[in-house]
């Protein structure tokens, strides 16, 4: 028996049915209403610098090749031959002159145009190859080197979609003179969880930190989150959390990069991070230079972990499985040795072997088990903490509150609900 979406999330999104995470029918609606209608993160331009460079990506479960074309443009195509549907590229990344399907050697340019059908010369009829390109992602746009794609040809421009969330993202990106670089290939691993929980976790749920991660995160770091933490929502579905440090704070306690162990392991890296912070006010202004980020989310499934410097995407593989991708990010102009040390702030704590992330993966998988308990259907999950307590702020865009207020999640699930109702009733 199907439950209408209106009964899954209540009006103010303080109560959400367990089925939101476990029902296969709802997942089918998500594919259309969320992943078919949003801007989805694909790759960073630093990964495909030269013509022919490509990386693999996903839009929900759809495999995508993101490539730099001969004209230096960015091309995103579905990795599936128009002849029999096989993937035309099997490598995770590389530099290619063309992509060739293994079955009958149909040959495509890196931009996705069909260039050759080897069997064509044995038949009389000529084939219009111009109509047989790889299926292109209809919209591809970049902002600050971040490449997004959308299956919705009519979607608003990317910058408009990101809106004021750009102000918060720029607090990070604009700190670095030459921008950022995504280091190598992403970590990608499978978690037996629903895709929304990793997303919600990074969107604003920093309040699990002092509890779930108490074995690793020291009490003084937790106190800082309680006392100085801000949670901001510029538009439902996006979110940004950070500590706004007092103006007279010691430089090391504000600067990016001091969380994790990189700064302790190298005096040179320590000094390098100090120098970035010393330029911060000039580059991002007096408020944002005092921001010490925690976690961000961009609707529907991109997140940014400022403290340990990773961008992550939660790719669904059905209601109960996620392929989680996590890219380590460093300043583009850092010396190579510093990049190696800085990436440790990410790999030691997050990713499939991360000291902190192993606790997260554990609870996300446990939440999915809980979401399948039929006899608790009359106990929807409670999302009501801090209801209505978010307010405008003189210096920060969006609505702002303490981090314990779950408004970031209520906003996300209201947008989610409305998007699903739109396809349910279409």
């Amino acid at each position: 028996m199907k439950t209408p979406i209106r009964d899954i999330v209540n009006a103010d999104a303080t109560l959400i049915s367990r089925k939101a995470w476990s029902d296969p029918g709802i997942y089918e609606l998500e594919k259309k209403g969320i992943f078919g209608k949003s801007w989805l993160f694909l790759a960073h331009e630093s990964q495909i610098k030269n013509p022919g460079d490509f990386v693999q990506a996903y839009m929900c479960e759809t495999p995508i090749i993101v490539a730099r074309g001969a004209d230096h443009g960015v091309y995103a195509n579905i990795n599936s031959c128009v002849h029999r549907g096989l993937p035309v590229c099997r490598a995770d990344h590389g530099n290619a002159k063309s992509f060739v399907c293994p079955y009958h050697s149909w040959n495509y340019s890196v931009e996705g145009k069909l260039q050759a059908i080897p069997q064509e010369r044995y038949v009389e009829g000529k084939i219009d190859k111009a109509k047989l390109s790889l299926k292109a992602v209809p919209r591809v746009e970049s902002w600050r080197g971040m490449i997004f794609g959308s299956f919705d040809a009519e979607i608003e421009p990317l910058e408009q979609y990101l809106g004021d969330q750009r102000w918060y993202l720029d607090a990070f990106f604009e700190r670095f003179t030459e921008g950022v670089e995504f280091v190598g290939s992403p970590h990608r691993w499978v978690i037996n969880a629903n895709w929304k929980l990793p997303m919600e976790n990074q969107l604003g749920d920093v309040n699990h930190g002092p509890f779930l991660h108490a074995a690793v995160i020291p009490p003084e770091a937790n106190a800082e989150v309680f006392e100085l933490g801000h949670s901001c929502v510029t538009e439902p579905g996006h979110g940004a959390t950070f500590r706004l440090m007092p103006a007279d704070s010691p430089l090391e306690s504000v600067a990016w990069g001091f969380e994790g162990m990189a700064s302790l392991l190298s005096p040179e890296v320590h000094e390098y991070l100090r120098e970035i912070q010393m330029r911060a006010e000039e580059r991002v202004g007096p408020i944002r230079s005092r921001m010490k980020g925690l976690t961000y989310g961009v609707y529907p499934n991109l997140s940014f972990l400022w403290s340990n410097t990773a961008f992550k995407v939660s790719h669904p593989r059905g209601p109960g499985k996620v392929e989680y991708w996590s890219w380590s990010v460093v300043p583009a102009d850092a010396p190579e040795e510093f990049k190696r040390i800085l990436r440790g702030n990410h790999t030691a704590f997050f990713g499939p072997g991360g000291i902190l992330e192993q606790e997260d993966s554990e609870v996300w998988a446990q939440q999915f088990i809980g979401s399948n308990i039929d006899f608790a259907d009359d106990r929807p999950y409670f999302y009501g903490l801090g209801l209505g307590e978010e307010k405008p702020h003189p210096d920060l865009p969006g609505l702002v509150s303490v981090t314990a207020n779950e408004f970031y999640a209520r906003n996300f699930y209201q947008r989610w609900r409305d998007a699903l109702i739109a396809v349910e009733e279409a």
């Binding site: 995770d92 590389g94 280091v183 290939s185 691993w189 779930l212 440790g344 030691a348 499939p352 000291i355």
Partner: protein
């Protein structure tokens, strides 16, 4: 990979026994004792295993499909799964003995078989040893998993130390995974 040097039966025996004791320690969750086997300068690395594009110029040669081409982040290039020094390992060991390390409460039950132990190089006080492992992992409330891989170790024998008293100077763990479906790569491998 270098050719194996002919280790004396005594040296081979000493090294094998050392690996068996280490395995028993790790499966017995005696991580504090295990930490004492790590040299202060230890590097513990799990490279990422990626699927690179086939290099046509290597066709017909073993390099075309070499394992090394799939490893990322061993030294400075790219992103490894883990690349840790002693302070990171101390942090992991500390965590293991706290009741709120929830991913290991209850802890996983592991059993590892270390085999194919080859001493590939000996130079003054250092021994380069490769070995293979199968590790069975099971935890209440979870499925059980088989981890398989290769260790590439550099062991060091400090001057004046007795036979069997070796430290790990470098350990590189090459995991034979396609997609990472393991619940954690945070364990001591």
């Amino acid at each position: 990979m270098s050719e194996a040097v002919l280790a004396s039966p005594e040296l081979q025996h000493e090294i094998e026994q050392w690996y068996y004791r280490e395995a028993r320690m790790l499966d017995g969750r005696e991580y504090q004792k295990w930490l004492a086997l790590c040299a202060p300068e230890i590097r513990f690395i799990i490279p990422s295993r990626t699927n690179p594009l086939v290099d046509n110029s290597l066709r017909g040669r073993e390099e075309m499909i070499s394992v090394e081409r799939e490893l990322e982040g061993r030294d400075s290039e790219g992103l490894p799964i883990r690349d840790e020094t002693l302070p990171y390992l101390i942090l992991r060991v500390d965590r293991a003995f706290k009741p709120n390390s929830w991913a290991e409460n209850p802890p996983a039950r592991t059993r590892r078989i270390i085999g194919n132990i080859e001493i590939v190089e000996t130079e003054s006080d250092q021994l380069s040893v490769v070995s293979a492992f199968h590790l069975h992992w099971a935890r209440p409330g979870s499925a059980s998993y088989l981890y398989a891989g290769q260790r590439r170790d550099m062991l060091v024998r400090a001057e004046g130390r007795a036979s069997g008293d070796l430290r790990i100077l470098r350990r590189e763990v090459v995991l034979d995974m396609a997609d990472i479906e393991y619940p954690s790569l945070g364990l001591f491998l």
